[in-house]
Amino acid sequence: MTRILAVARRRLLHSIPVVAIVVLGVFALLEAAPGDAVDAYLVIGGGDAEMIQRLRQEWGLDRSFLARLGAYLTALAHLDLGWSVAFARPVSAVLFERLPNTLMMMAAAICFSFSAGTLLGIAAGARPGSLRDRILSLVSLGLYAMPSFWLGLMLLVGFAVKLAWFPLGGIESVGMGKTGLARALDIARHLVLPVLSLGLIYLALYLRLMRTGMIEAWRSDYIRTARAKGLTPRRIAFRHAARNALLPVVTMLGLQAGALLSGSVVVESVFAIPGMGRLAFEAVTQRDVPLLLGVFLISTLMVILANLFVDLLYARLDPRVAAEG
């Protein structure tokens, strides 16, 4: 346990410069964007030259670069991400309203792709070159080449338009007044297709990784030992081979956190899910730079957190990860 805590401490320290660089980058992009916060504010409110002058002073926009950076950092420290022109509300308020939907979808997609991908990978890697292996490998190759938004559209055409098994979009049925379990089931039904379009692609990735890992594991000496010990085939496959083959998959889980968030942008747009990814797209179409960069900053922090979690999980799974170094 002390080892895991030490790993956590090391990783936390490691992410400080990363966060700093990202925050500086976001500030640079804000500065580079045409117009400033006052211009943005005036689009909605309107005002005369005197008011513009006053607002600029008040918000410190007429000050030096460093002073502006300081003001930006102070605001960030108070969870103030700026003003969203498009929604006429603080960016943070809009963001935290949308966050749960995205988190729910991502969590479901990760669970689905990880569990199904590893299980199918175990099946494929059990006998490389067999018919089952070849079919699974072919399907995963095809899935892995698909853009998630296109897969989403095709699932939409097939299962929502033609078969009408699932709703066309949104996160829940509007105006039905559902509560409790009924509401949860309704949301789940709305999430099936988006989760599939996001998850199937990563399923393919995890399947391929797990397959390679299993083939590697079956060739290793410790599997021969497990056979020599007369363990059941089940225990050899899952406890000995899969346990080792899982390690690279877990690493990839961390690396894919950002990609999954990226995928949520297009998938949420396809399925009209009011989440953070769609918010990024809305910010782009409405030229709302503070909102877009707010999404950017929060999603990056989420990725860093996810990576931290995955590092700890990895350290838990692989005792060879040292506490220091």
């Binding site: 490691h14 992410s15 410069p17 990363v18 660089i21 990202v22 980058g25 992009l29 580079a32 964007a33 190759l141 095809g142 892995y144 080449a145 698909m146 853009p147 998630s148 938004f149 296109w150 559209l153 095709m154 939409l156 055409v157 338009v161 690396l255 950002g258 990609a259 968030l261 990226s262 995928g263 942008v265 297009v266 747009s269 990024a280 797209f281 910010a283 782009v284 179409t285 030229r287 730079v289 877009l292 960069l293 999404v295 950017f296 999603s299 990056t300 990725v303 860093i304 990576n307």
Partner: protein, 277 residues
């Protein structure tokens, strides 16, 4: 080299090469098979595929020839993804070489920068960049490269770190060759092979990112792109799903071809001999 080629010529390697050659051929022949502006109206709108021999793949909402759009889209896809892969590799190789060969503080700084870029959801970064810089070929290429340069940079840095301690580097130092010249002229060529196998992954990723950007209306506005075609088809997805399906298949085929080539190349280079226990 011949052994590598022979190991490359597996089912997947050959299939990938053939498919990719078809895409390249489509891009090259776009102006011959479908001359004129692919974005201009060519016939009646919404002709179903395989129903009119003049428009084998039908027409879209605005009466544009889907086949012509598809061929010109191949060109756009190859140009953007090729350019993005080139820029990515150049940036990655330069940064990786500098970090690995000079080391010290520069290495630390560059690697923290790489950490930061790897923590950022690359597509949201690309989205932010294109929306601030404005959509154009250059901004799309830059946006794709922004999220991809870290992989070749890291691989190259690791290679260089293992190479820089070799004798031949010391020999050049003793001969008085400037360090940067040693790095780029003598060490770099030896460190390249593992980076080359990354190229396929970078190209495939570039195709997918470009398609997603175009799908959201942030692609190069001056050319037909497959992503934009898919988005265009969305408006009539109930009545004419083929409009979104066809360009999507083109993306899948192209990415699949590149992945197959990459896998086969990787296997061929890293092939291990069969061991007898």
């Amino acid at each position: 080299m011949r052994a590598v080629l022979r190991r490359f010529a597996t089912g997947g390697g050959i299939a990938g090469t053939v498919l990719f050659a078809l895409v390249v051929l489509a891009a090259l022949l776009a102006a011959v098979i479908a001359p004129g502006d692919p974005m201009a109206m060519a016939g009646r709108p919404l002709i179903q595929p395989f129903s009119d021999w003049r428009f084998p793949l039908g027409t879209d909402r605005l009466g544009r020839d889907v086949l012509a759009e598809l061929l010109h889209g191949a060109r756009a896809t190859l140009i953007v993804s090729g350019a993005a892969a080139l820029v990515t590799l150049l940036v990655g190789i330069t940064i990786g070489t500098l970090a690995g060969f000079i080391g010290g503080r520069l290495d630390d700084a560059l690697m923290r920068l790489a950490d930061a870029f790897q923590s950022v959801p690359t597509f949201i970064l690309a989205l932010a960049f294109v929306s601030i810089a404005g959509p154009s070929l250059a901004s799309v290429v830059t946006a794709v490269s922004l999220g991809a340069w870290t992989a070749p940079a890291r691989v190259l840095r690791a290679e260089i770190l293992s190479l820089r301690r070799r004798e031949f580097v010391d020999a050049y130092r003793v001969l008085g060759m400037p360090p940067l010249q040693i790095a780029f002229r003598e060490v770099l060529p030896n460190a390249l092979p593992p980076v080359i196998t990354l190229a396929a992954v970078i190209v495939a990723n570039a195709i997918l990112v470009e398609a997603a950007l175009s799908f959201l209306g942030l692609g190069n506005p001056n050319s037909v792109t497959w992503g934009a075609m898919i988005a265009e088809g969305r408006a009539v997805i109930r009545s004419a799903p083929y409009l979104s399906a066809i360009p999507g298949v083109a993306v899948v085929v192209t990415v699949l071809a590149v992945n197959l080539i990459g896998d086969a190349a990787n296997e061929a280079i890293h092939a291990r001999r069969v061991q007898v226990p």
